[in-house]
Structure formats: C-alpha cells, structure tokens
C-alpha cells in the first residue's frame, strides 16, 4: 500500500514550493535555523499553514509577506540584498582595492 502524502492536496510542484518556503522561513522559536531544519512544534504547524496557504492559491511572495506581517522581518531567512547593499559591497570593495594596491605596488617594485 502506498503511504499518504502529509500535505494531501498538494501536487508535486506545490510540494517543491513548500520545501522552498520552509527552507527560507525561520523557525520563530529557534535561535537561528529555518522551518525545515527544526523539530519545534511551531515549525510543523507553520509548515501545515503554508501548505494550506499554497492550497488557497497564495504565491510564494504573498506567503513570505504574510509571514513577515505576522512575525516580523526576522522570520525571513534570507538577507534582503536591496535594503542592505552596504554589507554586501564592503567586502567586495575591500577585496578589489587591496588586490589592486598590492598588484600595482608589486609591479612598480619589480621594475
């Protein structure tokens, strides 16, 4: 006999969306991890809720917004790149500048 899917009304594509969403939403009770890496009861509850939201026709972005509205920004695992360009750019800038400095200095010295 075949086992039942836990989220009955979802087809294969929707299940993949569910995994994606659970991977990118933080477990509100944990200090760091996401829903799919957590054993806290709230995580499986939220996963069920996301499944039912998918069922109701919510898009991924709408579900992220929904969660953000209820639990705040921290619930989204990913860092928002647009709002925080500085922490992405600082290392890049440092990298490029130091490589350029060292290289030009080396070339000048070796001449």
């Amino acid at each position: 006999m075949q086992a039942d899917a836990l989220y009955e009304d979802l087809d294969k594509e929707e299940l993949e969306r569910l995994e994606y969403l659970a991977d990118n939403i933080r477990c509100p009770m944990c200090s760091y991890g996401n829903l799919s890496s957590s054993n806290a009861p709230i995580s499986s509850d939220l996963k069920q809720e996301i499944a039912s939201l998918i069922n109701q026709g919510y898009s991924d972005q709408e579900i992220f917004d929904f969660m953000q509205d209820r639990y705040g920004d921290y619930i989204l695992l990913d860092t928002n790149i647009e709002d925080n360009r500085s922490i992405f750019l600082i290392p890049l800038v440092v990298l490029v500048i130091s490589i350029l400095l060292v290289t030009t200095y080396t070339i000048r010295k070796s001449k």
Binding site: M29, D45, R70, Y74, I75
Partner: protein
C-alpha cells in the same frame, strides 16, 4: 608615515569596536519575532471551552480580556501560574485561558493541581486558533481591549513585565 596612518586608522577601528561591544553588552534581549500589538483579534470560527460549551464572540471582543496560552506540558507555564492567580484575584479583568494542543483531561488535571485562575478555558486541540493569533508557543499572554490586542507578552509573565506592559491599561 604610512605606518602612522595605519596606526591611527587601526586605533579608531579598535576603539569603535570596543565601544560597540560595551554598548551591546548592556542592551536588552530582543525578541526574534514581532509581537501582535495593535492587531485586531480575529474570530473566524466557533470556539468551545474545555467543558464543551460554545464561546460567544461577545465574551472575547468586549471589554478588557486577558488571553493566556498555556499547557500542562509547558514548564514555564507552571512558573507563571501563581502570578496569574494573583492577577485574577486582584484586577478587574476577564481572564481567559487557551489550552494549547492538548487533551482536555490533561488540562483539567493541570488546573486541578495548580488552581484555576481562568473565567473559562478555550479548547485549542490542534493549535490552529493560537497559530492564527500569532502564538509561537506557550506561555504567551495577550491583553485585548474591545477586540484589539494592546499588549502581548511572549514568554513567562511576572510582576516586572506586568508593570512595564500591562499595568498602564488598568
């Protein structure tokens, strides 16, 4: 010359790092999740008490209501329980419990053992009502005035938290 410039930059960086750490040592704990203050209490279904009686919408939406999410399996709930009894006795407020994800018999044993501060307890067997309310896990306490959540505590409530967040509404 370059060494001196480096030295100064370094000192400045280090000093700002130290002061930043010193400040951050004093900061309070920041809740990872937003609380639900300012949102309306939404009743989208018929609720029942643990005794199987229908809960009227009016009993939750009018006046001052304290909603406390608890469960017998939750250890911190036992910690805050005496304080809840104290509040129920001393304040003019309706105290409503939400029995979070457990069988009626376990809840009743728990209330028998520790005393029952609640006017009535709502049965939330699958935790869905709590989930929609924004509960992440018991214990949590809401103060609802005329259907609006005005104060929300995630975690154990005690006299300090009460004075800080709840007392001003009484």
């Amino acid at each position: 010359m370059t060494t001196r410039a480096f030295l100064i930059i370094f000192l400045l960086l280090l000093l700002s790092l130290f002061s930043f750490f010193a400040i951050s040592l004093q900061k309070d704990y920041v809740q990872p999740v937003k609380n639900q203050e300012g949102k309306p209490l939404i009743l989208d279904r018929q609720l029942y008490t643990i005794d199987g009686i229908k809960v009227s919408e009016d009993s939750l939406l009018s006046g001052k209501v304290i909603l406390n999410v608890y469960a017998s399996y939750c250890l911190p709930c036992r910690v805050e329980h005496p304080f809840l009894i104290e509040i129920a006795d001393s304040k003019d407020v309706k105290m409503v419990g939400i029995s979070h994800k457990e069988q009626v018999s376990a809840t009743k044993d728990y209330l028998e053992e520790l005393g029952d501060p609640y006017d009535f307890s709502i049965l939330d067997l699958d935790g869905d009502f709590s989930l929609k309310l924004g509960v992440i896990g018991p214990p949590e306490t809401f103060l609802i005035i005329d259907g609006e959540i005005v104060a929300h505590r995630i975690g154990v409530i005690d006299i300090n938290i009460w004075n800080e967040k709840f007392e001003k509404y009484f």
